[in-house]
C-alpha cells in the first residue's frame, strides 16, 4: 500500500495546486507509515526528480504529448491501472478543474470511496475520516471512507506548501494509451491574468463601483498586490465583468490568503464563495453592509477615495511608488 498523488499540469508547467497535494499526500503517507508516490501524465519542463522536496519518493510519468489535454476517461483509466500496479490504496487529487473531471471516474473503476474538497489531513486514529467543506463553505463534514481504496480531492489553498530535502526517482509508466474519447478543438487562455483559484490575494468589486469604467482602480490595486481580480454576481450578470470573475455560491469558490471586497454588500450567496479566505477586508460606504460581520478588517468609506489611497500606501510599503 502507498499513497498515489496526481500531478496536474498545463502548458508544460506543473500547477500550483499540485504542490499542495504533493505535501498533503506525503503527510498522509507519513501518518499511515507508507510511502508517497506521484503520477504525471503528459510532458512538462519542470525537473521531476526535484519533486522529492515535497515528500514523494517516486514520480511515475507517462510522457506523451497526447496527454497534455485532459480526457477524463483516458486519464482515469491510466491512473487506475497505475494505482493497481503500484499497490496504492490512497489516491490524492487537487479539487481543481482536472481533479473534478478525473477523480470520480477513478472512484468508479477502483470502487473507491471518494471525498471531494478535503480541507485537512485525514484522521486515521479510528477508521479513515476526512474533513471536507460543505454547504458552499458554510460548514464542514467529517466523512468516513470505508472502502479498501480511498480517493481524496484537496480544496485549493487549504494547506501551506513547504519543501524540504529529497530527490525522487523518475520512472516511465509502462501503460498503453487508450484511444481518445474527446477531441480538443480550441483552447482560449486569458493571458496575463492570475487564475482566480490559484491566487493568494484576490481584489473583488461589486455594484458599489457604479459601472465597468471604474474598474481601473481595482485593477491597479490588484496589480500592486500581484492579485487576481474578481466580482460579485450582479456585476457579472450585467456584463460589467466577464463571468469567470464571478465569485460566490454559483460562481467560483475561492480561499485566498487575502480577499479585499470593494463595494460588495456581502449577500449570503457571495459569502459562500469567499468565506474560506484567511483574511477578509471590506471597503463599503454603507456601515450596515452585512459583509462587515464576516470581515476581519473594514473601512467604512467611499471606495473612490479609499481604493486609490490604499494602492498608494501599499506601493509605498513595497517601495514601488
Amino acid at each position: 500500500m502507498s499513497v498515489l498523488i496526481f500531478i496536474d499540469q498545463a502548458d508544460g508547467q506543473i500547477k500550483k495546486s499540485s504542490y499542495e497535494v504533493l505535501n498533503y499526500g506525503a503527510a498522509i503517507a507519513s501518518q499511515t507509515g507508507t510511502t508517497a508516490e506521484a503520477i504525471l501524465l503528459g510532458t512538462v519542463k519542470d525537473d521531476l526528480a526535484a519533486l522529492g522536496k515535497y515528500g514523494v519518493t517516486k514520480v511515475h510519468q507517462l510522457a506523451n504529448d497526447a496527454l497534455n489535454h485532459i480526457d477524463a476517461a483516458i486519464f482515469a483509466t491510466i491512473i487506475a491501472e497505475a494505482a493497481v500496479k503500484i499497490g496504492a490504496t490512497i489516491l490524492v487529487f487537487a479539487q481543481s478543474h482536472s481533479g473534478k473531471a478525473i477523480a470520480g471516474r477513478v472512484s468508479a473503476i477502483l470502487k473507491a470511496g471518494i471525498v471531494t474538497g478535503a480541507v485537512a489531513i485525514p484522521d486515521t486514529s479510528n477508521g479513515f475520516i476526512v474533513k471536507k467543506a460543505v454547504f458552499s463553505g458554510k460548514a464542514f463534514a467529517n466523512v468516513r471512507i470505508d472502502s479498501a481504496v480511498k480517493i481524496i480531492t484537496l480544496n485549493q489553498n487549504s494547506i501551506k506548501v513547504h519543501s524540504g530535502e529529497g530527490i525522487a526517482t523518475v520512472a516511465a509508466l509502462d501503460i498503453a494509451l487508450p484511444s481518445p474519447t474527446v477531441t480538443v478543438s480550441a483552447v482560449h487562455k486569458v493571458s496575463g491574468e492570475i487564475p482566480l483559484t490559484e491566487a493568494e490575494i484576490v481584489v473583488s468589486a461589486g455594484r458599489g463601483l457604479k459601472g465597468p469604467e471604474n474598474w481601473a482602480m481595482v485593477e491597479e490595486l490588484a496589480k500592486t498586490l500581484h492579485a487576481a481580480t474578481a466580482c460579485s454576481r450582479p456585476v457579472a450578470d450585467t456584463g460589467w465583468r466577464p463571468h469567470h470573475e464571478h465569485v460566490g455560491q454559483t460562481g467560483v469558490q475561492i480561499a485566498p490568503n487575502l480577499y479585499i471586497a470593494i463595494g460588495i454588500s456581502g449577500a449570503i450567496q457571495h459569502l459562500a464563495g469567499v468565506n474560506r479566505s484567511k483574511v477578509i477586508v471590506v471597503i463599503n460606504k454603507d456601515p450596515e453592509a452585512p459583509f462587515f460581520k464576516a470581515a476581519d478588517y473594514g473601512i467604512i468609506g467611499d471606495a473612490f477615495e479609499v481604493v486609490p489611497q490604499l494602492t498608494a500606501a501599499i506601493q509605498q510599503l513595497k517601495g514601488t511608488a
Binding site: 460543505v134 460548514a139 463534514a141 471512507i145 473601512i299 500606501a313 501599499i314
Partner: protein, 247 residues
C-alpha cells in the same frame, strides 16, 4: 434523442446552516428547499432548449431520494421534461448515488446525460464523473456552452485561467455550470402540466455505500471586524502587513 437530467434537492441559498442530534444531522426546521441551482438553471434549461429546437427530443428527469423529494421533482417538471424517475433511496455517498443513476441510464439508452457541476449542500462535484465511467461514456465537466450538430457535440469547458472547446460524439455525460443557459421561471401552464406528468418510482439496485458522514462542524466564528477610519488607510496597510501578514 433522449436526454436524462439529474436533479437534486438542496436548501435555498439563503438558508441558515445548523445541525442537530449532536451535530450528526442537518437541521431542516425552517429550511426552504429548492432544486439544486446548477441542475435547474443550467442542466435542465439547456435540455429544454434542445427540445424546443428538436421537438422529437425526450427529456427524463431523475432524482435519487425519498418520497419527500417529490415536490422538488414536480417543480422541475413545471419547467419542462416529459417524465421523471425517482429512485426510492437516500444516501450521501456519491458512488452509491451514481450507481443508482447508472442503472436507470444504462436501461434507458440515453444519448445525453446532464448533471449540475455540484450540489450546493454536499459540494461533491463528482457524481457526473463517477456516472460517466459507469455508463462508459465520455465526460466533460464544468461545461459552459453546449451545441449539438447531429450526434456531434461541441462543448466549451472552463479550465484554470481560460476555456477549452471539445468535440465529442454522443452519448456523453456533462456537468453544467454558469453560461450554459439562463434561469427560467415556470409559467402557470407548466405548473399545471407538471401535476399530471408521469413520476415513476423505482426501487434502488444493490450497490455499496463507500462513505458516510460521521459529523458536521460549523466554522469558528469570526472575532469581529476591526474597523479603520477612512482617512487612515495607512493603518489598514500596517495591520494587513504586520498583524495579518497578508502580504
Amino acid at each position: 434523442m433522449k436526454i436524462l437530467v439529474c436533479i437534486s434537492k438542496t436548501p435555498d441559498t439563503t438558508s441558515k446552516i445548523a445541525f442537530k442530534d449532536n451535530n450528526t444531522r442537518f437541521e431542516e426546521t425552517g429550511v426552504q428547499w429548492i432544486i439544486n441551482p446548477y441542475d435547474e438553471w443550467y442542466s435542465l434549461v439547456r435540455a429544454i432548449e434542445l427540445k424546443e429546437k428538436d421537438p422529437a427530443t425526450v427529456i427524463h428527469l431523475i432524482k435519487v431520494g425519498a418520497a419527500d423529494t417529490e415536490p422538488i421533482i414536480r417543480k422541475a417538471l413545471a419547467l419542462g421534461g416529459d417524465e421523471a424517475i425517482r429512485v426510492n433511496t437516500d444516501s450521501s455517498d456519491s458512488y452509491y448515488i451514481a450507481a443508482q443513476i447508472a442503472a436507470v441510464a444504462n436501461a434507458g439508452g440515453y444519448d445525453l446525460i446532464f448533471t449540475g457541476k455540484e450540489t450546493i449542500d454536499y459540494n461533491g462535484s463528482c457524481i457526473g464523473a463517477i456516472l460517466s465511467e459507469m455508463v462508459h461514456a465520455p465526460y466533460i465537466s464544468l461545461a459552459t456552452h453546449f451545441e449539438l450538430n447531429g450526434t456531434l457535440a461541441s462543448i466549451t469547458r472552463e479550465i484554470e485561467g481560460g476555456e477549452e472547446v471539445y468535440t465529442v460524439c454522443l452519448p456523453l455525460v456533462i456537468s453544467a455550470q454558469k453560461g450554459m443557459a439562463e434561469q427560467r421561471i415556470p409559467n402557470m401552464r407548466g405548473i399545471m402540466a407538471a401535476r399530471t406528468k408521469p413520476l415513476k418510482v423505482v426501487e434502488p439496485v444493490v450497490a455499496e455505500q463507500l462513505t458516510s458522514i460521521v459529523s458536521f462542524e460549523l466554522p469558528p466564528a469570526k472575532a469581529g471586524v476591526k474597523l479603520v477610519a477612512a482617512d487612515n488607510v495607512a493603518e489598514l496597510v500596517r495591520l494587513l502587513h504586520e498583524e495579518a501578514k497578508a502580504f
